[in-house]
């Protein structure tokens, strides 16, 4: 068992066909500048002989233009680079039937978005928003998207790189995989709640406590994977499952909306569906006045 935190590139090799990854190329897109968004690795590989787009974090790279962007942080360049890879995947397969839409595989190991001054001046929120919209568009255009969390999937970083996927897989906690918004220490500091009490509560409260198993309980992760060797096989299985659902028109069972239903099914998020039902019922009573 090998901990893959910081090993985004190694994780790519463990998933795709040996030697098939071509970095920087996605159909008509070719990025050769090594200093442009180096923390984001994009490219094309084959998986079981079929072409797919790969988007990963490289935690070993640091961006020379942005001092806060290193260790897997997604900065302005990284996010737009990732978005470009997605849009070029869509363009490449435009007009092709669903079975031929290339898969997009997200290898996730990011501690978050660029938290700097330049980022705020130029609008980091746009960059990560752009990448999320690109992924949502690709998913709705029929591309099967799997996110595989191999290390850190933290807050806004995970939101943009991972949470728009059709299915999310994560290595189990024994790999020190981290999925959370903030560590308990920071939550305690900001909410001014007692840390020891929060730590006690965190043992079995999936709604706020850090951990892949809690996200699983909330429906935020489809499956936890227990060994590195299984990653490739599970990605292949999930991609096939996703493609079958898209071809059957069952898109609503996929992506963030699908995970909402999964959260209710697993008992972690039950208030959500109750609120939605109340709203919909109430609206039906007045809809005629408005529509």
């Amino acid at each position: 068992m090998e901990n893959l935190t910081g090993q985004g590139r190694a994780a790519i090799d463990m998933v795709v066909d040996p030697g098939s990854f071509r970095e920087g190329k996605v159909s008509a897109l070719s990025i050769t500048d090594e200093e442009f968004g180096p923390g984001a690795v994009i490219g094309t590989a084959t998986l079981d002989g079929t072409e797919c787009t790969i988007i990963a974090n490289d935690a070993m790279a640091a961006n020379p233009g942005f001092p806060v962007v290193y260790a897997g942080i997604i900065g302005l360049e990284e996010a737009y680079k990732m978005a470009q890879a997605v849009y070029h995947s869509i363009l490449a397969d435009r007009g092709k039937p669903l079975p031929e839409k290339r898969a997009i595989i997200l290898i996730v190991d990011t501690p978050g978005n660029g938290p700097g001054k330049q980022e705020e001046i130029f609008g980091m929120n746009k960059a990560t928003g752009a990448y999320q919209m690109a992924l949502a568009e690709a998913r709705k255009a029929g591309h099967p998207i799997v996110a595989l969390v191999v290390g850190r999937a933290i807050s806004g970083g995970f939101l943009c790189h991972g949470m728009q996927a059709d299915h999310i897989l994560a290595l189990s906690p024994k790999f020190n995989t981290l999925i959370h918004v903030m560590p308990i220490t920071s939550i305690a500091r900001i909410t001014k709640l007692d840390i020891e009490w929060l730590q006690e509560l965190a043992k079995n409260n999936p709604v706020f406590a850090p951990g892949p198993d809690f996200f699983h309980k909330l429906g935020g992760v489809e499956e936890l994977i227990n060994s590195n060797e299984e990653m490739r096989g599970r990605v292949i299985v999930h991609l096939a499952e996703i493609r079958a659902k898209k071809m059957a028109g069952r898109d609503e069972e996929l992506g963030p909306w699908g995970r909402g239903a999964l959260g209710a099914e697993r008992g972690g998020r039950v208030a959500r569906s109750r609120v939605i039902k109340v709203m919909n019922d109430e609206f039906e009573k007045v809809a005629e006045r408005y529509l």
Binding site: H88, I121, N125, K126
Partner: protein, 325 residues
């Protein structure tokens, strides 16, 4: 509603207004119906476990109203309840109002494919939030992803207009959401960003960014800066009427024109943003004023302090030519 109340709301400061006043005042007089409102007493099931008080609207007002013939699906966040933060219930209400707008659009168009644009639904969100509610952080984060998913479904169908002029501003993951709207309307008191000032200070050191320096915080994320950068489309005075007038002006435009106001949401927009990022590398700004100056504002120091009307007349907005380089 008490007679005259709607008229009184119009002149009220947007900054001082609570979420319900904003929701009621933005729609035509007497047309706003709240959905899943306080009478249903749907509060967070998670806050009591943490010993925290609940609100029966979980810090967000959602409902439907009219602007002329147009159905408005409105969400309005309440900063006075845990900073307008997004928990499970709050998030579900926000996500579902957007979904409801898109479903209504599809339903209306199915019944009448020739339905004129002036009768088609729009989404209006008055943001006042720091993003995820830490007491129910995981559920809040999941709701953010759902919102972006619903936003994408609305693209090209239902315009989404973001309004930002309340005390908390719009930060964290909700900063992404606002950026993904078709149109952003702000007042000079509105603030929009991703990382809050304290976190930037923590990352960069107090010498680089002093979070207690109010003027610096506004220069970096405030309405005037966002207006110069093109990161808000319209900058308006601080009243509900001013926001409503701007909203009406935007929604009167053909949908294609509203979509053209977007910052992100297509490859072309991404390529344009990349030109701005290249400019950021070139300028390596130590302060927003460096960019204001580049945009053609000779005396950037004065821009932050001059009165609002003079600012609107004087300020040069950043223009980047996509044909360059």
């Amino acid at each position: 509603m008490i007679a005259g109340r709607w008229e009184q709301l119009q002149s009220k400061s947007f900054l001082e207004s609570n979420a319900r006043e904003r929701a009621i005042g933005l729609a035509d007089s007497g047309t706003f119906t709240e959905l899943a409102g306080p009478r249903h007493r749907i509060s967070s099931p998670h806050l009591p476990l943490m010993g925290e008080a609940v609100e029966f609207d979980d810090g967000i007002v959602t409902g439907v109203g009219l602007m002329g013939n147009k159905p408005l699906f409105i969400a309005s966040q309440e900063g006075r309840f845990i900073g307008g933060s997004v928990g499970e219930v709050h998030g579900a209400k926000l996500v579902n109002i957007v979904r409801m707008a898109r479903n209504s659009h599809d339903r209306m168009l199915a019944a009448n494919p020739a339905l004129p644009e002036e009768k088609r639904p729009a989404v209006v969100i008055s943001f006042e939030t720091g993003g995820v509610r830490l007491h129910e952080a995981n559920a809040g984060l999941l709701a953010h992803a759902e919102l972006m998913d619903q936003f994408q479904d609305c693209q090209g169908k239902v315009p989404i207009i973001a309004l930002i002029g309340s005390k908390v501003g719009c930060f964290g993951g909700m900063g992404f959401a606002a950026a993904a709207a078709d149109t952003i309307i702000m007042s000079q008191f509105g603030r929009l960003g991703l990382t809050g000032p304290e976190v930037i200070e923590e990352e960069m050191g107090k010498d680089e960014f002093d979070a207690s320096d109010r003027a610096l915080v506004y220069r970096t994320t405030g309405g005037r800066h966002k207006y110069i950068m093109g990161d808000c489309n319209l900058l308006v005075a601080d009243s509900i009427a001013a926001f409503r007038d701007a909203l009406r002006g935007v929604l009167a435009k053909p949908h294609a024109e509203i979509s053209a106001m977007r910052r992100i949401g297509s490859l072309e927009k991404v390529l344009h943003q990349l030109r701005l990022v290249a400019l950021c590398v070139k300028l390596a700004p130590r302060d927003s004023r460096d960019v204001w100056k580049y945009a053609g504002n000779g005396s950037p120091d004065e821009l932050a302090d001059m009165d609002f009307d003079t600012f609107l007349k004087t300020a040069e907005r950043l223009v980047i030519d996509d044909r360059e380089g």
